[in-house]
Symmetry: C2
Subunit: 175 residues, 2 copies
C-alpha cells in the first residue's frame, strides 16, 4: 500500500496558531504523515481572529465592531491590527521554519481573517484538502470555554479526515 | 523527516466496527499513514458492546442486566451473545483481509467487551498506541443520538493523536 501513498498527490492542511500544541501537531504530521518523496502539498493555515473576537476572548462576551470604535481610539485599533498581523506573520514563519527539511514537498502558507472554526472549515473545502491536521485545543482554557473546542467543531464539520494531535503531558489529565 | 518516520516503531490502533465508515477509515490509514517498510504495528480493535447496551441502542434507554434476564429467556440471551461474537469475528476478519498486502507491518487484533467509547480509550492507554484511527461516527444516526459521537468522546479523552476519518459523501451534508 505504501507505493499508493507515495505516488499520490495529497493536500495536507495544517492549522497553526500561537500555541505549543499546534507546533507539536505540525511536527507530528511532518514525522508521521508527510513522506518527503511524495508529491504532497503542505498548506500552513493561520486564522487571524477579527478584532471583535479578540476582545470577546477576554471573557466579556462578543463586542460589536461599532462599540469597539467607541471604546478605542483609531490609534489603538490600528496598533491592535498591526499586532495581530505581526503575530500571524510570526506564527507562519515559525511553522515554515519547522518544514525547512522537506525537499520535495511543496509548502504553501495562508493567513485568513475570521473565527478559526469557520476559517479552517472553509479553507478545507476551498483548498481541496485531503486531510486536516490540528492541535486539540488551539485556545487556552478560558478562550476554549468561551468559544468551544475548535478541533471538535472542525472534526464535526469538515468532510475530509481530521487528525487531532494532543501535546503529551506528564500528568494524568484524563482518567 | 521521512526517515525519522520510517525508522520509528509506531503502534497504530484502528477501531473497527460494522460500519462502512470504519472500513474506509482503515483503508485511508493503510494508504496514508502506514508505511510498509516501517516497523509499524497495526492493531485492529473491535469493541463488542455489552448486551445491555445493545438493547439500549434500540432507543428504549439503558436496561439493567437483571431486567434483561427477566425479559429474555436463557436461550435468547445465549443466541444474542453468539450473534454478537459472530459479528465481532466477522468484522475483525474483514479488517484483517484489508491488511493482507502489508508485508513488514505486524498486524494484531483485539476484541474487547464494553461500550466502544470506554474500550477504545482504555485500549489506547493499555496498548500504548501512538495514534488512534477511527471513523467519525461508528454508529448509525439513532444510536449516535443516544450514545453521542464515539469519535468525539475519544478525541477528547485519549492522550495520543486521533485521526478521524469521514467517509466521503456526494451530497453536501455539511454547509
Amino acid at each position: 500500500m505504501a507505493d499508493v501513498a507515495s505516488s499520490k498527490e495529497r493536500r495536507i492542511l495544517v492549522a497553526v496558531d500561537e500555541g505549543e500544541e499546534s507546533a507539536y501537531a505540525l511536527s507530528w504530521c511532518l514525522k508521521n504523515v508527510i513522506t518527503d518523496n511524495s508529491k504532497d502539498t503542505l498548506i500552513l493555515l493561520y486564522a487571524k481572529p477579527p478584532r471583535a473576537v479578540y476582545t470577546a476572548l477576554d471573557g466579556t462576551g462578543e463586542v460589536e465592531e461599532d462599540r469597539l470604535g467607541y471604546l478605542f481610539s483609531t490609534d489603538i485599533t490600528a496598533a491592535m491590527d498591526r499586532y495581530s498581523s505581526d503575530v500571524a506573520d510570526c506564527v507562519i514563519e515559525k511553522a515554515k521554519r519547522m518544514c525547512k527539511d522537506l525537499q520535495d514537498v511543496k509548502v504553501e502558507t495562508r493567513i485568513e481573517n475570521g473565527d478559526p472554526r469557520d476559517v479552517i472549515c472553509q479553507m478545507v473545502e476551498k483548498l481541496g484538502a485531503d486531510v486536516l491536521v490540528m492541535g486539540s485545543h488551539g485556545y487556552g482554557l478560558l478562550k476554549r470555554a468561551f468559544l468551544g473546542s475548535v478541533s471538535n467543531h472542525c472534526a464535526q464539520n469538515v468532510k475530509c479526515p481530521v487528525l487531532i494531535v494532543k501535546k503529551p503531558k506528564t500528568n494524568a489529565e484524563n482518567k
